[in-house]
Amino acid sequence: MLKALQIEPEKCTGCLQCEMACSYRAEGVFNPAKSRIKIFTFHEEGRFVPYTCTQCTEAWCMHACPVEAIVYNEATGSKDVLADKCVGCKVCTIACPFGTVNYDQDSGVVYKCDLCQGDPECSKACPTEAITYVDADHTGLDRMRAHAAKSAGLDAQQH
């Protein structure tokens, strides 16, 4: 069973624990600037929205790469960048419709979420369960449940 990151923005407080955990695992420093997951603050609306790679099946980035530096990881379902193969052409960053693969000036190669090889640090660090790592086939389960409760006139909180 593959798992996927499930993101529930309404639970997010914008604390950036996830960004620090991500950058620390990937780069060995606490550095939101190097995080693969990003929190966007919509100040006027009072909303915080975490955003990262969804690991598309037919991944644009992977297909676009001319040197096959982005590969499918069968164990986790993630699309991983092979840093030693990447030539830094940035074609993948253009191909990805969501902007979640990015170029790093310091290393000269691109970087993206690789689900921490199946044990994502962001979800472990998140204090509010805004990011959870769940069955990839059922990322909508909680939302369905809430709506089901609502349609039956129940208080979703209590069920």
């Binding site: 407080t13 914008g14 604390c15 950036l16 624990q17 620090m20 955990a21 950058s23 620390y24 780069e27 060995g28 420093v29 606490f30 550095n31 939101p32 600037a33 190097k34 100040h43 006027e44 609306e45 009072g46 909303r47 915080f48 660090a125 204090p127 509010t128």
Partner: protein, 621 residues
């Protein structure tokens, strides 16, 4: 190591910018942030200097845990000599700017002198430039923030800036970062304005590494997060109600300063409480509170993001105030609400927005307004002085109007910018200023919480709850319950809280963690991150050293034991309602003992043995 070991020194007079190594010997004695910057300040300025003159310095400082994954590890402080009190000032702020400064590679930024032209600092990692700020002079915090983001075309810059109040000489203006987080007290923003420095804009992409023992650090961080999560205050109360969780609690124990501290309970408290912020309002069915929000790295997330009812008189036809922004914290709700006798939640939220928009301290402001209202009602201030405003307790329209004037430094707002001590002196009623050393009280009446009275009287930055929050013990039973109405044991309790807090304020962490954490939780995080041995005892020693250093600064600045006192109202007029009925604050029963446990003379001066113990020397007095 956790410190970046780099200090940025900026001479505003001649525009020179230098990098220098952090004094690691001092870091071992003072840890960082509050302690370390106070050490720099005492070494570099004459405590008697004019706080608004070029000889004062303005230091922005992080702690070793700032920018790390330690929960709440995003704090910075502004350390300088206060124009409000004449004491050493240290105002601590959350948000994201502190961590950005650290990620750019800096433990500390020291501003000296005074710029001939208005400038702002643009800091991108190693690159530091002073740029012209003429276009944003005379604009609000919010406008300046927007202008800087547009100008640099970078939405990720973090900005700290002053508003119009500071530029107009308001003596309790703060530095606002990230739109609504504040280094708020003691007029540190006024000092920034006096240097012709409008803003500091930072982009840091280097991150914070350099952790002494990474595996142990990550374990200590996750242990700490679990403690915060499992604790009822930090895991439930603060995320749900923010600091406003206290409004009803403190009112019930009869320690809610009301109408310029004439009373100790406010009949309207529940209308402006954390609970009320969750209630759907009639007009649009939405509650005041939109969401809670965390500062950098914070797993408590006490921050309030609020909206004002669009139909409320304060914002009618003012769509610029219809969006969500930083809402009421307990201290603001108390000072703007119960101390002025106003229980209109929307009006208070509007006024909170204004305080953020133009950078004034809502505690000092609310208390100054309360004093002005009392003087108005007794006839010492008239309508001519107020510009026609009916400055009565309970008048929400007057609150909104006077706040607008104060934030912009116009009309009666200029008088208001003096703070209550100078205002009350000006109008002939110094006894009505509810201050210690010129700084206004926070939200706990010391008749109902005896230890806080001693804490206020001896606080090194004037009346303040954040220098030793014995409310935790006296009301909430943290770490253990003491009787709020007794003075027994309070000197020792106050000292313990003051020393502990000084250490926490020097680490990069938020003092709110101490609702759940003791130094036993904090020390392992510092110890795993930083060179040296950082046991709880070592931290207490550092805290006590800092306390004595601050005291010595204030003594050299001219403070004496006479300044360690409370207004007559709190020492002579007994509480009329609630559990503290009939009580005054019995300061005289605590103060001599406090001096003794501090190792100070009967005149409140550290003895030579005490100084020796901490490696201090008397500052020129």
């Amino acid at each position: 190591m956790a410190w970046t070991q780099k200090v940025l020194r900026i001479n505003l007079t001649d525009g020179s910018i230098k990098q220098e190594p952090l004094n690691m010997e001092w870091a071992r004695d003072y840890l960082g942030q509050r302690g370390l910057a106070t050490k720099y300040l005492t070494e570099e300025i004459d405590p008697k200097c004019d706080p608004l003159g070029p000889d004062n310095k303005f230091i922005m400082t992080t702690g070793p845990l700032t920018g790390t994954m330690s929960s709440t590890g995003g704090r910075y402080s502004v350390v300088t000599k206060s124009p409000l009190t004449g004491c050493v000032a240290c105002s601590n702020s959350g948000g994201f700017l502190g961590a950005e400064m650290k990620a750019a590679g800096w433990d500390m930024i020291i501003f000296e002198g005074k710029s001939p032209q208005p400038v702002y600092l643009y800091l991108e990692n190693e690159k530091a430039e002073l740029l012209p700020a003429d276009e944003i002079m005379g604009t609000s915090v919010w406008a300046a923030d927007e202008w800087i983001h547009k100008k640099h075309q970078d939405p990720l810059i973090r900005v700290a800036t002053i508003g119009r109040a500071a530029e107009k000489g308001n003596l309790y203006a703060g530095v606002i970062n990230d739109l609504h987080r504040a280094a708020g007290r003691s007029g540190v923003g006024t000092v920034m304005a006096s240097k012709n420095l409008k803003a500091v804009a930072i982009r840091g992409t280097r991150g914070v590494g350099n952790i002494k023992d990474p595996a142990r650090f990550m374990q200590a961080v996750s242990d700490g997060k679990k403690v915060l999560h499992d604790n009822a205050v930090t895991g439930q109360g603060l995320p749900k109600y923010g600091t406003q969780v206290l409004m009803n609690v403190i009112n019930e124990v009869g320690a809610m300063p009301t109408r310029n501290m004439r009373e100790v309970q406010f009949e309207g408290a529940s209308n402006i409480s954390g609970e009320a912020m969750h209630e759907p309002r009639e007009s649009d069915g939405k509650p005041n509170l939109v969401t809670n929000a965390g500062c950098f790295g914070c797993t408590i997330a006490c921050g309030r993001i609020s909206t004002i009812d669009q139909g409320h008189f304060s914002v009618e036809n003012k769509p610029e105030y219809w969006d969500a922004s930083g809402g009421l914290e307990y201290e603001a709700a108390w000072a703007l609400g119960s101390d002025t006798g106003i229980d209109d939640l929307d009006a208070l939220t509007y006024v909170q927005f204004l305080c953020n928009e133009d950078g004034i301290d809502p505690i000092t402001y609310g208390a100054t307004l309360a004093a002005a209202m009392e003087m108005y009602e007794m006839g010492a201030i008239d309508k001519e002085t107020t510009g026609g405003i009916e400055l009565r307790f309970g008048n929400a329209e007057a609150l909104c109007r006077v706040t607008e004037l104060t934030c912009r430094g116009e009309g009666f707002g200029i008088d208001m910018g003096l703070g209550s001590r100078r205002l009350c002196e000006k109008y002939g009623h110094p006894e009505l200023s509810m201050t210690v050393k010129g700084q206004e009280f926070p939200a706990y009446d010391p008749r109902g919480v005896q230890g806080m009275g001693l804490g206020y009287a001896t606080s090194n930055r004037g009346a303040c709850h954040l220098r030793g929050y014995t409310v935790a013990s006296e009301i909430m039973g943290i770490p253990e319950k003491t009787d709020p109405l007794t003075t027994d044991g309070k000197p020792e309790l106050v000292k313990a809280f003051q020393d502990m807090t000084a250490a926490v304020d020097s680490s990069g962490l938020c003092v709110f963690t101490t609702f759940a954490w003791t130094l036993e939780d904090i020390a392992p995080q510092i110890d795993a991150a930083c060179e040296g041995d950082w046991s709880p005892d070592k931290l207490l020693e550092v805290g006590e050293r800092i306390w004595n250093l601050e005291r010595d600064f204030n003594i050299a600045a001219g403070m004496t034991a006479k300044d360690d006192t409370l207004p007559k109202r709190l020492l002579k007029d007994a509480a009329k309602t609630g559990p503290a009925t009939g009580r005054v604050n019995d300061l005289d029963q605590m103060l001599p003992k406090y001096y003794e446990v501090r190792g100070w003379t009967a005149d409140g001066v550290p003895t030579s043995e005490t100084r020796k113990r901490f490696g201090l020397k008397a500052l020129s007095a």
